[in-house]
Symmetry: C2
Subunit: 198 residues, 2 copies
């Protein structure tokens, strides 16, 4: 009875979003209440539009509005080096660094037995098809450094190694600007294992 019907409905919708709790959802709903009606309509339209306009690149699986996506279609990028990421968020994170000049392959998930996600549920088959088609020299596996990401990386590397293609994994180690004192043991262990010669 605290909220009106339409307000509690909107709060519930916002709360379904990742990282949005009760307080944030309430703040967001009250924001919507306070903006003008055309502004609210613009927000609602942006939400529906994205579902109508966005499709998945038939090559890398990234979200795009034209197929193939702007990265796969860019002649300046090296199609021989493919960076494997778990989702578009991972791709965006790497693109922002401008450290990768090759193509991508978006898995749309990680292997996670606990969530009933096996290798067949993510885009590993499509990756193998790209490899079989030839022209690839290196596969950089950039899944997250958590259990699911590591499992997926391991699985793909075992699958691809026999083809003779170079398979690498992005380095796990101490974050830049961090303090050794505050780093956790697993990270320090990984940093020791991954040490490079000067």
């Amino acid at each position: 009875m605290l909220y009106t019907d339409s307000l509690s409905r909107l709060i519930k919708e916002f709360q379904k979003m990742p990282g949005i709790g009760q307080k944030s959802a309430q703040r967001m709903a009250l924001y919507v209440l306070q903006i003008s009606k055309p502004q609210a309509q613009r927000l609602a339209k942006a939400i529906v539009d994205i579902k109508d306009k966005i499709l998945y690149c038939s090559i890398c699986g990234n979200i795009t509005e034209q197929n193939p996506c702007s990265i796969c279609a860019n002649p300046k990028r090296d199609p021989a080096v493919i960076c494997v990421v778990e989702d578009p968020k991972g791709l965006l994170a790497i693109e922002k660094t401008k450290a990768h000049h090759g193509h991508y392959h978006v898995l749309m998930g990680n292997i996670s037995p606990l969530d009933n996600i096996g290798p067949e549920q993510i885009r590993i088959k499509e990756l193998m098809q790209r490899i079989e088609a030839g022209g690839i020299s290196e596969l950089i596996i950039a899944t997250s450094p958590n259990i699911e990401g590591e499992t997926t990386a391991m699985y793909i590397s075992k699958l691809v190694k026999p083809t003779g293609i170079k398979v690498t994994r992005i380095a796990r180690g101490l974050p830049m600007g961090g303090d050794l004192e505050y780093a956790d043991e697993v990270t320090i262990t990984k940093a020791m294992e991954g040490r490079l010669e000067f």
Copy 2:
């Protein structure tokens, strides 16, 4: 060029919300991308609906779907004690505690000279009209304990005092569960000033 057009449009819309930064907005937009189309339409509808259905209570100024609101219309609540809050968020925060059994008055803002908000821009005139209409014994001022909230509280108390109505201010002091060591000086000063006898 990192995002597609419709994605960056949605991210921009989300970023306008209070407390939503670039990262959260991106996460929210990618969530919308991933839910089903009917789900996205439901979210969009909830946003537009709220603008169509919600109105402001003609008595207290709170958001409601019927006029007067369920608090003003509730015969079990005491209309002689009015709690003055700056916005519906403040009202909700107090309602959740179940500590107030009277009515409310929502100011829809605080006096803030820096933002060009004077006493005329918020619902003080309406408050004075309610007081003049009679039947009110106590005014509990529950604006936020920041500069704007304190200014507003002070202004209203000065305005109402001559009418003979009891005007109180919710206590400022140490938050429960907190540690004296980590409290700021202004809060400790307020806590000392507001000390109560055992």
